[in-house]
Every structure is written in C-alpha cells, then in structure tokens.
C-alpha cells in the first residue's frame, strides 16, 4: 500500500547518497576492482580511541522483538585517547558487513568489504582528557551507527566523547553480547501509520537509558562533563535527536541531519539550541512539512541549513563508501570528501558554540569557504 521506502530501502539507501550504478565498461577498459574505503583523517588534533559497551534496560520490553523481554543497546564510544599507536578498530564485523550489504542489495561486492574499511580510531586505546562534553549519535533507519564513523572520529579528535547508539532491530545487523545478531525486525512494520512516531519515542527512551547508565558501564565515563550533552543524528536518527531533547532535558542541544521529524513539541516550544541540516529537498515549503512545522516551535537558538548538491546520505559515510561498493556518484552531487568536510565542520561549529561557548562566525551566515551552505528559511531560495 505504501511506498515509504522509496528513498531508504535497499540499494536506494546508498543511491540516495548520490551514487548510481556504474556505467558499463568500455570494450578496452576494465574498471579497477573496488578496494576498501579509507575514512578521511580527523581534522581535530587528538588521537582517537574507540570501544563498545552493551547496556540492557530490563524496565521495558524490546519494541520490535516480542520475544525479547528487555531492551538491549549497543553503544560505540569514540573519545580522545592518550596515544595514537595501536591497531585500528574495524568499521564493523565481517558478519555485520555481510548482512548490511545484503540489506543494501549491493551485488557483486565481497561480503567483508565494509569490515575492511580503514578507520582512524585505535581499538581500546586509553582515554585522555577531562571534563569532556558528550555527543550522542543516532543513525538513519536500517543503518548501523558505524555509518557515522567519519563524523564520530572527527568529533573525538576535537575533544568530544561520542556515544553512538545501535538501536537493535532497527538496522540490518547489530551484534549483541554472545555473538547474537539482531536483524531488522522494524523493517517488517515500517509501512504502518505512526511508525516514525513510535520509533523516535523508543529511541528517546534509549538515549535516556544510555545517559543514565554510561557512568557505570564505561570506565572512561568519569572524563565526561555531564552538564554538557548534545545529540546529533542522521535521517530518523536526527528525528530521534529532537525527540530525545523533548523528553530529556539533559540533552542540551541537537542537530538533525536531513531527517523528517516526528516528535511532538508541546505548545510552549523547545527553548534549547537546535540545528537542521538538509539536502535541497528540505528547503522550506517542500514536500516534507515537518521542519516547517517544527521551526515555529523551536524558540531557542536555531539554524536551518540547506546544502546544495547534497543527497540524503551525504551527511553519513555513504559517499565515502560508494567506491568500495562499485558505485559512482551521480553527476552534480557533492563529492564525498567535501560532504564529509561540510558535515564535520558545521556540526563541530554547532557543538563548540553550544557546549563550549566558543563563538562561531561560521554559523552567523553564508560563508565563501562553504558556498554550498544556504541559511534558511530567509536566505535559501534557489538553493
């Protein structure tokens, strides 16, 4: 009945990031075999470590798996580390790579291709720093949080602790303790009315639970300044950032990267800082009215940026991974490195402004260095 996955499901997930099937090879030229992607080095100077913690909320049932009596969560932490040497963390496990590629319907790609992606963070490195602000990350529907690794590593290198949440059964593969794999059960019900609303309510509860339990679950948590917490998400993860802010005042600021929003902001409005960053389909007055609706209800510091040439996946690792999957970007889309730079730069500026009180002229208006970025709703016509 509904075509709701028109932009998100299957290969469209990556196609929406600006990739198209490669042109058929010319007679003489054999295209090079795809090689694993390399994530760009973080702009921030600090070494980056990463580790995974598992949490279990026994106060509520899993919203998708009727047989799971508790909600389990996988949290990937990226953080400033004391040293740069050590083995780089895998992007995802071989099995997660296989299931994610299958979910994306990426044909003809070695099953472990995503596992072999080159990252910058050192697995299990000793954390460094103190009074560090915390950023919660939430990925798009069907995507693991590792699709936000480029952003996460960059934020950690700038001195943030990043807690990336894998919300089980909402992506193609999340590894849980004991090697169990949670597959995408939510994908079976995503055509139901109220699906997005229910999903972001669940993610908001996930975020609150992570904030409650992180201190006990991770030995580096003492380095976090719990007065300085923000959330950033892409697609429905961005919608979840807004939902978490509505529900939990500990989340002081939020960024929604191209996600249609679902959380109901009460009549008084939401007075904390929030930033929308979208592709040109998210220009005011577009087909999705949710940002227009919420813009009026955001009563604090706010920005609405539209990035020309961006696609839905431009704010994730998708463009960086495209080559490894044998995909070539559609003409006119933002190049992968540029998309990553814009995403990292503007998200970091927002967080530096609101969690560290550092002035950010970049957020005051258009910048010649980033001519792609328009400031809506006042100055973004024709973007």
């Amino acid at each position: 009945m509904r075509k709701i996955l028109a932009l998100a499901a299957g290969l469209a997930a990556l196609a929406a990031s600006g990739c198209a099937a490669p042109a058929p090879p010319r007679a003489a030229a054999v295209p090079p075999a795809p090689v694993p992607a390399t994530l760009p080095a973080p702009a921030g100077g600090r070494p980056v470590g990463t580790t995974v913690v598992y949490l279990k909320d026994t106060s509520r049932r899993d919203p998708w798996n009727p047989d799971a009596e508790a909600r389990e969560l996988k949290v990937t932490l990226w953080y400033p580390a004391a040293r740069r040497d050590g083995p780089r963390a895998p992007y995802m496990s071989p099995r997660e790579s296989e299931l994610t590629l299958k979910g994306l319907r990426a044909a003809g790609v070695p099953a472990d291709m995503l596992h072999r992606t080159w990252t910058n963070a050192v697995a299990g490195a000793v954390p460094a720093g103190r009074r560090l602000p915390l950023v919660v990350l939430s990925p798009g529907f069907t995507k693991p949080v590792s699709t936000l690794t480029s952003l996460a590593e960059d934020l950690a290198a700038r001195g943030y602790v990043v807690a990336g949440i894998d919300h089980p059964y909402e992506n193609h593969a999340t590894t849980l303790p004991g090697g169990r794999i949670a597959e995408c059960l939510a994908c079976d019900v995503d055509s139901d009315p109220g699906f997005g609303t229910g999903l972001v309510q669940g993610r908001a509860a996930d975020v609150s639970f992570v904030l409650d339990r992180l201190p006990a679950a991770w030995r580096g948590a003492g380095r976090i300044d719990r007065e300085r917490i923000a959330m950033v998400g892409q697609s429905i993860g961005g919608a979840a950032a807004l939902a978490a802010m509505v529900k939990d005042p500990r989340v002081r600021a939020g960024v929604d990267l191209d996600g249609t929003t679902y959380a109901r902001i009460s009549g008084g409005g939401l007075p904390r800082p929030f930033m929308f960053v979208g592709n040109p389909r998210h220009t005011p007055g577009g087909a999705d009215n949710s940002w227009d609706r919420d813009w009026r209800l955001l009563t604090g510091w706010k920005r609405w940026l539209v990035v020309s040439g961006a696609e839905h996946g431009s704010f994730t690792d998708a463009p960086l991974l495209a080559g490894a999957l044998g995909l070539t970007p559609a003409p006119g889309t933002l190049p992968a490195a540029r998309a990553a730079e814009i995403t990292r730069t503007y998200v970091a500026a927002f967080l530096d402004r609101h969690l560290r009180s550092r002035p950010q002229p970049l957020l005051d208006g258009p910048s010649p260095r980033y001519a792609e970025v328009a400031f809506c709703p006042d100055a973004c016509h024709g973007s």
Binding site: M1, R2, K3, I4, L5, A6, L7, A8, A12, A13, A16, P66, D67, G140, F141, D188, V189, D190, S191, D192, P193, G194, F195, G196, T197, G198, Q201, S235, I236, G238, A239, D258, G259, T260, Y262, R264, G278, N279, R281, H282, G286, A287, D288, N289, R293, H312
Partner: protein, 466 residues
C-alpha cells in the same frame, strides 16, 4: 527529506482524515488507456480543472471502467449537467442558456454537444468556472455509484500533522454507513481528541447529532451519521446529546473536529497474541503490500515452542488493500481453488487462484468480520466462506468490493481511480453492495461496548475450542 516516509504523504492524509474506506488496491493487468495513463511517480502540483479534464474523465470512464464499453454514456452527461445547474443555484446564480442539449447516444457527438453547452454556460459566470468544473467531474464519477470509482483532488495535509495522527472527533460509533445502521447509535471506541477530552466512553448512546435524531422512523439519518466522521478541512463543531445507561445521565457535548495523536502501538497493521488453549489471535487492519507475510510470521512466532490449535483472524475494520495479499493469506488455508472472478460487464472473466507455493498452516480458521471489512477484506472473507476454509463470525461485511481500483492521471495532475473489472466471489456471486454474511451473526450491543466485552471474539473462541 528523510529517507523514509517521503512518499507516504498522500496516504497519511487519507488516514489523517479518519477515512475507513478501502485503500486503492494495486493495479492488476488491465487495458491501459492513452486518454488517462497510470501515474508515473508522484503527480505534480494540481492545476485548474478545465473542460479538457472533464472530457478526459468522460472518455476515461468509457474506455477503462469495467462497464464503460456498454454503459449509456448519456447518463454520465446528464448527471454532469444536473450537477452544473445545481452548483449554479447553490452559488445564487442562474444562466438563461443553461439547458441540457439533446443527446443522440453517439458518444463523440454527445460529448461535443455537452462541451459546447458547458462552455456557453460557464462563460457567463467566469468567476465560478473552477467550482463548476469540480462539481461536474464529481457528479460524473458519482453517477457510477461505485465505491471504488474516485476522483482525488485538493487533498491537503492539515497543518500541525504528525505521522500517525487521526483527524475528526476522536470517536468511532456503531454506524458508519447509514444504509447498514441500526438503532441505537452508540460509541464503540474513543481514540482521542475531542471525544476523549469530553469524557465519552464506549457504550455511550448518541441520542442526537446537531439536533437531529440519528434514526427517524427506524431509518438512519445519513447527515447525522456522516457528521460523526468529519474529514479535513471540515472543522465545524458537532453537538451531541448523550445518554449513559449505566447511570441514566443525559448530557450535551460539543466536539470540535481536529487532529489528535494516536498510540503508535495501536496503529500496527498486524498484531498477534496467543489466546487460551493454543489459539493464535492475529489482527490485520489492512492488506498492505506485505500483509500476508506479516500475518504468517506472527503465527510462526506463536507456533515456536507452542502447539497451536487454531487461528483467529480479526479483520474487523480492515479496509482492504492489495488483492494479491488477500490471495496469499488465503493460500495458507486452502490450495487449488479459485478465490474470485474479475469480470467485464460483458461477462468475460479472469479467475484469481490460490498461490499454492504458500505453505498450508493446517489449522482451523475463524475470521472476525464487520461492516468495516471492505474490498480486499471481502475478497478474503467471501472466499473463506465459499471455499469452506474457515468460519466467519460477526456482522455482514461492507459490500464495497466493486473491483481492483486502478489510478489514472488527469491533465490537472489529479488522479481518477476506476475498477477495470468487476469482482465476483468464487461462486460467481456479486459481493459488491451486498457484502458477505457471517456464518455466525454476533453484533455488538451498547451494553457489550460499555462493559468492554467482545461477544464476537468469545463466540469465535468457543468455535475453535469445540
């Protein structure tokens, strides 16, 4: 725009409007029209409805509607002209030359005569032209008196809409269709919004609607019943006189239609739970694109680690959807049978058959039905009954299964849906308008609703326990 949900806006609107009518089933193979092709992707912005669009509608009906080849086209034009004159009157205007031209029965010549008269008439009142054009098209489609023949235009999303919201008074009542309504009229469910704020409860009797009795001389007052289900942008408050029998209290409430949030958990299209003695209960609210697989997964989940003795499928309020999904689900209970015939008015029929690649469950089936079971839901229930694949419990189905509706794009970027074939049950019986009678007639009373009892469910369980 987020990856999910972008294309769902149109459907969400229909849901927001609280429409219980069946969703358009997916297209099946049928003659394609060059007059009104199937839409390719989302239509562009709507433009004014012109006489050329009216012409398109006329020839689209004649060319693609299941009885288009044989129907008397003069009926369409007469209905259209009638609506034109009535709309003029409603606007407080008159045009001396607004006279129906003589028709000959030649479809092309009659159209030319009609179009000339339409142009002359509307040319006298240019400010009304758009409104008259809309009335003309609506009347032509309404002349088919077919639930699945629809013209979708001017749909707007209510401002402030959130995914999953309902629109209306926030209640459901014992009558939805005036021709199938019995007194007393009572509240069957309170979903939210104004009805919840006013403290209404299931079982409360509605004694009057905007001052009108819901039944006069035992016959339902259509306007009174329709007023309970406003759709956006209808926003006029509705005044109800209520009676709560348990206390004898009588009072008035005024309910303002609007958007209201609904619990996402209640909006899931498929929900299941095991009931006593190994009965798998599954509720299915619509035959969406993966409905059959979702129901079968739910049953398989309940079957793991448990011996099932039967399946209780709750299709009450199931507005239909994809006939292919109805067939797939049916095929888990019966193989090797015809589930329906899809026919032209001339009697040329295609048989729809069970999909015998679907594994049989080998479990007894009882299906709960009511007047909200429409379209593909009636395809399913009529086949269950005729093929003896299970038993039906509840009340007669909607009788809204004209045939699989197919969309056609018009020049003003509106969409006309028409069934290209007429649906008949496995015994070649007409189900449209008539509905499917249950094997066990168990209506819901106001007392049951007030007490939270579900007598149909109880009867179904006792049948499965026999």
């Amino acid at each position: 725009m987020s990856g999910i949900r972008s294309a769902a806006a149109g459907i969400a609107l229909v849901l927001a409007a609280g429409c219980t009518a069946p969703a358009a089933p997916r297209a099946q193979a049928s003659p394609q029209s060059t007059v009104c092709p199937a839409p390719a992707g989302a239509p562009g912005p709507e433009t004014a409805t012109t006489v050329e669009v009216i012409e398109q509608v006329y020839f689209c009906i004649l060319g693609t509607y299941y009885s288009g080849a044989t129907l008397d086209a003069r009926l369409l034009l007469t209905a259209a002209f009638t609506a034109l004159t009535r709309e003029l009157n409603r606007a407080g205007r008159e045009v001396a030359g607004a006279v129906m031209p003589p028709l000959t029965g030649d479809r092309q010549a009659d159209w030319a005569a009609f179009a000339a008269a339409w142009r002359t008439t509307t040319g006298q009142v240019p400010g009304l032209r758009d409104r008259l054009a809309v009335a003309t098209v609506e009347a032509m489609v309404a002349a088919l008196d077919d639930d699945h023949a629809r013209w979708t235009h001017g749909l707007k999303r209510p401002p402030g809409y959130y995914d999953g919201d309902g629109y209306g008074l926030g209640l459901r009542a014992s009558a939805r269709r005036p021709d199938a309504a019995l007194p007393p009229l009572f509240v069957t469910a309170v979903e939210g919004g104004a009805a919840r704020a006013a403290g209404l409860r299931p079982g409360d009797i509605i004694e009057s609607v905007d001052g009108s009795a819901p039944f006069i001389g035992g016959r339902a007052t259509a306007a009174a019943i329709d007023a309970l289900y406003p759709s956006y942008p209808q926003a006029a408050p509705v005044r109800l006189r209520m009676l709560r029998r348990s206390t004898g209290r009588r009072w008035n409430v005024t309910l303002k239609p609007g958007l209201y949030p609904r619990d996402p958990a209640t909006l899931r299209a498929v929900t299941g739970r095991p009931l006593a003695r190994g009965v798998a209960y599954v509720r299915l609210t619509g035959f969406s694109g993966d409905a059959a697989d979702r129901v079968l997964r739910e049953i398989a989940r309940m079957r793991a680690g448990r011996t099932l003795t039967g399946v209780l499928l709750d299709l009450r309020g199931n507005g239909g959807g994809s006939p292919a999904e109805a067939i797939r689900l049916l095929s888990a209970f019966v193989h090797g049978k015809v589930t329906a015939y899809l026919c032209t008015a001339a009697g040329a029929c295609q048989a729809a058959r069970t999909d015998d690649t679907v594994e049989l469950l080998g479990l007894p089936l009882v299906v709960l039905v009511d007047g909200g079971c429409a379209s593909a839901c009636e395809h399913f229930s009529s086949a269950v009954k005729d093929l003896r694949a299970g038993r039906l419990v509840g009340t007669r189905t909607a009788g809204a299964v004209s045939g699989p509706a197919e969309p056609h794009l018009l020049a003003d970027n509106t969409v006309l849906t028409l069934p290209a074939r007429h649906h008949l049950g496995p015994g070649r019986e007409v189900v449209d308008r008539i509905g499917v009678p249950p094997d066990h007639h168990v209506p819901l009373t106001a007392k049951d609703a007030a007490a939270g009892r579900d007598p149909a469910l109880e009867r179904a369980l006792s049948l499965l326990h026999e």
